[in-house]
Subunit: 322 residues, 2 copies
């Protein structure tokens, strides 16, 4: 079993890369791959339960992700969103109904409809996620980090506290951040099957996701860090920072704003207690010694998953390092 700790886009691409990887000289069987996925970004809009990271991974692995946007479905239409403008124009002051800043495509809506209806029937998010995986015929197993609600909250420099989606989508992650907290994490339980997958995997991979807001929510769950620390030698992290910048999203700026170094060294300092190895891109090879000085083994390997060959080689290297 190979277990991958996941945020959204970077994790989705890494999971896909595992389909082109070998482990011990043998092609990886995707049925042995488990993704434990961040749900701190989850939100409710229009009464619908939305799990952005789970959906990004599902759609990516199904080959249905829009390759240009990197989120949502390919060949998507936006009729419902367009029709919402009429209502946004009449909502009273103080209301946030008819939000038009969070785009939900018409095909994508079906996923939220199903999730919402199943949760209302009493199914757990873990159960619904497995069903959605079957609907898309995914061989990999995706597990939400928790069946309990954890909400990533972002405190902005102007003093406002907003949900992750408001920060990330509505404000286009263009405003300085003062702190990040995970509401509900103190009482939320790491999904037992996720805990099991972390414990039992041959290799655990920390995907190239934002360490603070994608992997951060998992780490906020009681016992999570301890599970990794207990098997640190076979935990491999892939740096989401290449050449001092985030491949996707605001990880680089956010690292600075929250007092970390926006480099692979900063990433190493965040992960050194949990992971024995950090994989960095050749662009950062000059920092390999500094990474090693944090106590992590440092492996240099092209990590920009621009094509299946590079991605597969990265995944193969990661598994070998574990």
């Amino acid at each position: 079993m190979i277990t991958v700790l996941c945020g959204g886009v970077g994790a989705a691409r890494f999971l896909r890369a595992l389909r082109h990887a070998t482990h011990g000289g043998v092609p990886v069987d995707p049925e042995t791959v488990v993704g434990v996925v961040n749900t701190g970004d989850d939100t409710v809009l229009h009464g619908l339960s939305i799990s952005p990271d789970l959906d990004t991974i599902t759609y990516t692995l199904a080959g249905a992700i829009d390759p240009v946007r990197g989120w949502g479905l390919v060949d998507e239409t936006w009729v419902a969103m367009g029709a919402l403008e009429r209502y946004a124009a009449v909502r009273p002051p103080g209301s946030t109904a008819a939000p038009t800043w969070f785009n939900l495509g018409d095909r994508d809506l079906a996923t939220h409809f199903y999730r919402t209806a199943r949760l209302a029937e009493g199914a757990t998010l873990t159960e619904v996620t497995a069903e959605i995986g079957r609907a898309w015929q995914l061989p990999e197993r995706l597990i939400p980090m928790s069946d309990d609600r954890v909400s990533t909250l972002v405190e902005l420099d102007d003093g406002r506290t907003v949900s992750f989606q408001e920060y990330f989508v509505q404000l286009r992650h263009g405003v300085p951040v003062r702190s990040v907290t995970f509401d509900g994490a103190a009482s939320a339980r790491l999904q037992p099957s996720a805990a099991d997958a972390i414990t039992r995997a041959e290799v655990v991979v920390v995907a190239p996701s934002n360490p603070l807001v994608s992997i951060g929510p998992l780490r906020a769950l009681d016992g999570f860090d301890d599970l990794l620390a207990a098997r640190r030698d076979s935990v491999v992290a892939v740096s989401p920072i290449v050449g001092g910048v985030a491949l996707k999203g605001p990880a680089d700026r956010m690292l600075v704003e929250l007092g970390h170094e926006p480099t692979v060294v900063g990433v190493a300092r965040l992960y050194r207690d949990l992971a024995g190895t950090l994989v960095i891109d050749p662009a950062d090879a000059h920092l390999a010694d500094e990474v090693a000085a944090t106590g992590m083994r440092c492996v240099v390997q092209p990590s920009v998953m621009s094509d299946p060959v590079v991605a597969g080689a990265l995944a193969t290297t990661v598994l070998a390092a574990g």
Copy 2:
């Protein structure tokens, strides 16, 4: 003020007809028209609050109803519904998630999104309905019969009890009915502004809607019948039965199944305590004396609202009768 007691399609067409009517020789000002609308058909699907009769009336008055189907929006697309099939195929036994029997068009979804979000914010259905009316620039005022949940339940001859929408849409009202009940009606309150509109109107019209499942839920509310009885002389009902058949829906069969005569006489017997006048179509002129024998004044007027001239003349006659 003219107050119309409303189900769905028949009521929508009558309200529209009032725009082409005169009262006391003066064109009716649609801003003086109030529709009190059945919400017994309301349902929750995919977590969304759906009010079919309110929406049918809104879309009809907005000129946006699909003229062929008679429900939903014109130029509608069905992408979300199509995408739902994938999930219907994986839902576990016992689950009713991803229902594909109730069609929700993509544009139409925006209405349910807005209603659901506003109700979640604590707005009343009355408030949301007014906002939706503004969004469509309706001069008429629509009021749900109650802000409390009332659910029309249909007991079938085979012993099953289903929601109105399951009976009407999923089973295509093709199965015999044993009884109809209105769950929640005993504790639901007639919307005060609706009660006021019934009391203060110059004329109250019972629209040509199903007497049992469209007007029935209003009548199940405490005090509703009394309000009408107190002003019976200026209450005018329009028969939804013409020549022994319902213009739309299962009213004719349902009347028989529930022990009523499927004629204008049967309608008169249901309404005689509430309304002073019944308007019937010339097709039923031979039953005018039988209607009169129930104690109602009987007015014969073409009532199939096939074009604006006929519809306007009907509405003018109805108002004159009140």
